[in-house]
Symmetry: D2
Subunit: 341 residues, 4 copies
């Protein structure tokens, strides 16, 4: 961290300020130029509060050279992290470090029959994981809020039937008690900075699929992962799912450049959700291919056997047939990119 001291500051005052900083565990290097004094902070600056520094009357500018995250940082963990999950069929599925994870399924679980049938189709087409919402975050209190615990039961039935590990969203801490058999817990975009929830998930022994908030920076996403990892849970999967912009053609703008950015900054696997990002089923396959081309470790995609009758977000779901076609294309892309699928 580098601090540019305000021109004209009294030397003595700067010394006092610097020794106060040193008490926070860093070493200070002074550079006293004719017109500008610069302080270089050496050591672990993750605990130093940038905002507080900026408020100090001696401080003109503050520049972080090191990133504020540690456990999620590739600098301190150069090898890719790979998440491994063993399904009910004893088979191991992998995401990251050369393995593509394909997570597919409907937006909401609607019935036991529906989810079991889709799960069978997904497995046949080559998906590695089954997704499906039981607790649904909905903008309106009057919209369908998901089947809740019943939905979870139906998902578990599909898991038993097909062996596919299941991924589903947790909306509140108290729901953890019914998530015992869930394989991967999803944190939705709107909860990415629900810090109480993140802390709790740090004590959990399951992989967490952490979705980027639709107006959160790369750094904020990694700080959210850091919250989980700081609690002891290192198995975090990052998920880009679109950011807000001024254009309404797609629901959000899928930030494909977040993939190489996150892969460079962090060792955690990065997947992409083309369905929620665009909100348009016809666009999901091309965005899924672009994601793999850009280096993603997998995708999470909405598939519904009858998108027109979907209880939520049908517009963004592709059919099982379209998913099968997509898997065919992704296999070719995986081969070019040297990834296992």
């Amino acid at each position: 961290m580098i601090i540019a001291v305000r021109p004209g500051a009294a030397k003595e005052e700067v010394r006092v300020f610097a020794s106060a900083l040193e008490k926070q565990g860093v070493k200070i290097h002074f550079s006293e130029g004719a017109s500008q004094t610069v302080l270089g902070l050496v050591g672990d600056t993750t605990g130093i509060d940038e905002e507080a520094l900026k408020a100090h009357h001696l401080v003109e500018k503050v520049i972080r050279v090191q990133e504020p995250y540690k456990r999620a940082n590739r600098l301190f963990h150069p090898e890719d992290t790979r998440i491994e999950v063993t399904g009910a069929d004893g088979e191991v599925r992998r995401i990251g470090s050369g393995s593509l994870g394909i997570i597919a399924g409907p937006c909401s679980v609607e019935s036991r029959e529906q989810i079991v049938n889709i799960a069978r189709d997904m497995k046949k087409a080559g998906a590695g994981f089954l997704r499906g919402g039981a607790f649904k975050p909905r903008t309106s209190p009057y919209s369908f809020q998901g089947l809740g615990v019943n939905g979870l039961d139906f998902l578990l039935a599909a898991r038993k039937e097909t062996g596919l590990p299941i991924v589903t969203e947790l909306m509140a801490i108290h729901q953890l008690e019914v998530f015992d058999e869930v394989d991967i817990i999803q944190v939705g975009a709107r909860n990415m900075q629900n810090f109480s929830l993140l802390k709790e998930l740090g004590h959990c022994r399951k992989p967490i699929l952490l979705k980027r908030g639709y107006a959160n920076t790369i750094t904020e996403l990694l700080m959210a992962a850091e919250y989980i990892m700081a609690g002891g849970n290192d198995r975090v999967i990052l998920c880009e799912r679109g950011i807000r912009s001024f254009d309404s053609y797609t629901r959000n703008v899928l930030d494909i450049s977040a993939i190489p950015a996150l892969k460079k900054q962090s060792h955690l696997p990065v997947i992409v959700d083309p369905s929620h990002a665009t909100g348009l089923s016809w666009m999901a396959p091309s965005m899924a291919k672009a994601a793999i081309a850009a280096g993603a470790d997998g995708i999470i995609v909405e598939v519904h056997n009858n998108p027109e009758k979907a209880l939520c977000d049908g517009e963004q779901s592709i059919t099982p047939a379209a998913f099968t076609d997509l898997m065919g294309a992704l296999r070719k892309y995986a081969e070019i990119e040297g990834k296992r699928l």
Copy 2:
């Protein structure tokens, strides 16, 4: 709600689709043009899922004419809502319907002495409410997270000492048990779409200060209020606190136009937080004045007796002296606008 049917759709299919819609409790008016059939849905459409409609193969476009919120809607509740809170001193403070509410205090509670002293200064300067964070949402898990329950105790001491009602942020449902004596519960911007939390607050008997998320629309803010109101708690105060943009001069862009927009759409009081919006203490007073000029029902502003030593966000806090000056200016503005302060 108006539905433009896809050109070329079979008449019979459209009829079947329309009667399915009617089963959801609305009446359908047909308009069959030469090239375009249009369906008009009459009745209460708040429960109809716009996304699901758009997914239907017969549907080209959907247009909401009515807003998707009901209890927060000025249409069904033309008079301004006024929130009244009685302080420990027996005095009633008001926000809305002609009364300006001024909420002031430090970002975080740091000690009993600090908060009691600031509270006395605030009261003397004319503030109606004391704010202070005990549970703090921080981007980094390594930053100061607030004093928690101790912080709450110090706030209550200041409340007892000065009579000022207190406003403080709730981050998780389970904290409700220690919020018994809090006068107004704040929901932070990052939790604006934490729907589990909102639902729970719907069953609560205290006023809720609901901050707009930094990337949420006017409609989404009103839908978040609707979540609380749908549970039976009508005492919601809306708070604009800046939205994200491409410019980093200020932390966020204070959306002053949200004030008349929210006042037109809803009967709920609207206040503004110039401190978090801009992140710059020198800018807070001019933004506070602009807010009142634009029709706001109050402000929530950060005041710290020693901004440079603030444990968080010192850069955005004004001094008690600056706050006293600001109150002087606001009184003149209130008079012009015909508001009580």
Copy 3:
């Protein structure tokens, strides 16, 4: 400007790099810490290309301490600039340095009668300048593009009739030949970074009303002003007119905080266009008041005697009666803020 050198860089290489920089006219102060070398550049760094520096393999981060603009910078010109224009009636109108400039008129000039009548109403209500579009930038090539030279003639007729100085938009350099009698030349938001046009206007002897692009930063707006000033024309009026966001309630988001930001960074007058920013006539008066409360030096507002029949943008125009009311309110605000109106 401060350069953090990449850790591990060879000392000799850094010396060579530094002396290359010194050839660009700055002095370099070295700070060699144990883990990080920092270079401080002293002198005029406005000509140093930050992007090129960042590309250098020795460079880790670059921080500008000084702003990249000089003539527009308040640092080198602490007193407020005031723009004075003498009308055809011999009266002097002022914008800036304590004087509020009120510019009003229709979006487009539609006929001689229309513009002369509105001009009379505007003058009577107390406006200082008449605005009206002759050359109109329109999103669609099939929309009304303005009356062109005829429109200019009608504007000049209104100028002669009322004495009000006129403000109108220039869209291309070659139009300058017919702008001889125009008092203030407007550069539209879409042309804010039309650098060829800006350079040409630097050689012009008329005040330039420079509108902020709807996705341009504070710094970019000041750099656009710098283009004009670098050519020798110091009479630039900055105009905030809304920025793009994710919300479509208003056409753009009026960035009220740009007013104090621009006033702090620059000595140039700053006015606000509430009509184009919001696109909603009912919202324009409250935004105009907020602008003055936040320290603006004036407003430019659309007024049309028959908004419903306006050939463009009627939705955002207020009536002459509403304008008269607004002037009444602004006079009270001007008094509180100690401004002349």
Copy 4:
């Protein structure tokens, strides 16, 4: 176009309003419901001013069913447009309709030797077109503005030497006189809504490479193309080059979803500029691959033989060696996608 009439409007008034609309060349279908009257406008509505309609007191909402562009619209021109350019070597290069166009070269032309050498490298690696800036749009008036006419001469020398068609940016209409031998004229992002320039290019017989403004919608980009096409020049290449967002990790956010969106709405070829979008050379190759995977018709990429010494934007240029590698990868992607390269 569908107009929802304001509830309670007098029938007679609506009739008068409708017949006024019919005079603009459309037919009106009435739908009078119990609570809502809806007008359906049939025919060519591209000339109808949506903004003016919205201002009318009888109008509640307006919904465009048809897009406001005609010549750029795939609806009226279902087959892909292919741009063909014959180089000085007699070879034909193609962009669109199954042919990938690869445009490569430095940000600025710096010397005859530099551009001729790069051109040779580009041709050898398989590029189809040479890019290079002679007139440079720069944020600061004090930055290098390009070599101007000399730069053009050097480009033409490289064209003669290698046979590669050249692509270079035009910043002002008067420069057209020296663009005689330029093969493709580029319109920069900042000039995308410089309507005077677009109109002039409509009368030009050369292909236009039209870059999307960094805060412009899909529709606005197509309307800018429509400006050119309305003048008679149908050879427009659309170029996505990143949009502004709240995150500063990359310079802009490359909107990969714009590719399928533009291809669906329009028949014009769509290419992508990964260099300007991200501003990071290490990210350009993965973004180029993502673009082709998403269906782009080509890329325009910055290559510099010595990025560290580049006079502008070195940070975003890749080396000729990296470009050769990229071409190898793109050939595999082209094959999978069934495109010619």
